[in-house]
Subunit: 242 residues, 2 copies
Amino acid sequence: MHALDDGISRWRRVADAIRADIASGVIAQQLPPEVELAERHGVNRHTVRRAIAALSTEGLLRAERGRGTFVNAQPPRVIYPIGERVRFRENMMKQSIEPSGRLIGAERVAADARQAALLDVSFGAPLHRLERLAVVDSMPMSRSTSLFSAERFPDIISAYAETGSITQALQKSGVSDYRRRETRITAERVSPNDVELLQCASDAIVLISNAVDIDMEGKPVQSVRTRFLADRFELSFKPDTD
Amino acid sequence: MHALDDGISRWRRVADAIRADIASGVIAQQLPPEVELAERHGVNRHTVRRAIAALSTEGLLRAERGRGTFVNAQPPRVIYPIGERVRFRENMMKQSIEPSGRLIGAERVAADARQAALLDVSFGAPLHRLERLAVVDSMPMSRSTSLFSAERFPDIISAYAETGSITQALQKSGVSDYRRRETRITAERVSPNDVELLQCASDAIVLISNAVDIDMEGKPVQSVRTRFLADRFELSFKPDTD
DNA sequence: ATTAGTTGTCTATACAAATAGACAAATAGG
DNA sequence: CCTATTTGTCTATTTGTATAGACAACTAAT
């Protein structure tokens, strides 16, 4: 009677279903009793209990003996505008959120064919790779990998380390302003490497944004790949605004 | 010694890792031998075999006894531009793709608070809900739920049924042109209802786009929620283009 | 105080997942 | 032809998942 053997346990599917019901508002404050949930999902009560246990350690639910199981209030999704002007710090502060970027790694690499085309440098040219982690209220939000031409921006790493801001680091390197040329968005399961970094479940979903920033003459400045945790973010694109 | 009990079987995690390695180009044509994969992922060879079996029935891999396991060529992700002008048919035909929309349901509903605000109608006002399925080469790509004011567009359903196009259905209803006001993007696991409709795995990831279209006077025309299969799509946002 | 309804804990059983080892069958290269 | 390498098949064992039933502990209302 097993629907599809997709390698996902029943309690996990029940947990996902409950999570979805909460997100969509089907379940508001209090969960139905365990026996009812078991019937609804066609599983044993113990399976429901395991699902609830998982969601409880996640902080989404709170079970009280004799009373029932309740939904904890969740922080709303952070809205992240994508458009011509993308400035992480500005965007967050408009929503009364105090952000902080953390440098988690820097490396010198050679441009592969794809990056060479995006950044308009020759194949194999030296690049600075900058790994950042965006944190809001001590909760990891996204992980970014930026690539800069090492020839054009030899000191971008130290400039970022000092200022903690891409915008300011670029200003020190002579780029007074920049804008986004293109943003491509897709979604995947989080990579195992990022699980502890982002403090998320090992099967969390990340929104992936591949973008290229250009200076005012239209020359590529940075190529950046950001992985947003999908359950903490919502990307917003407004044509008119700004 | 279990890393994290997240309800996902080991073979499934190995399968996901292999899929990711293929997507990122770490694995190109041929897979490493099963024993090597087993070591790399810290599992038994049989577990790797099960992962490979799943990916083979999925069409991603092809195992040949005595030779090895090979990666089948995959169709590239369809690039879907989001911007002011969003026209499904036009967008697809630019990429030499012949699309087709299928009407899978229509219903008359009352506006809830959120939809009323988006469409600028009063709470409880009658809406037409239009459910569509976008198909490319007989492969389902996305599922859309459109909402129109039933007062302003009483015949939108039949107009869409005749023309098979939102753009043309709106023209028949007196809207010569429209543009997108805002697009909000997030990602979730596919809902169980959509699994058979979209012909995808029960834990596939969907990119969700919530958008509002407005006419040339700025009045809201439709509110549309589209669920794109993340492994078949890439959303692209270009500020300058058009 | 009693009762109905709820979550928490315990034992037991059937079934699937993962591990382990051995060997067959096909391929490729010397 | 022979050998090394690789995928395919088989048996067996251990561990984890899911089901089943019973009962305790707690809450809220009568």
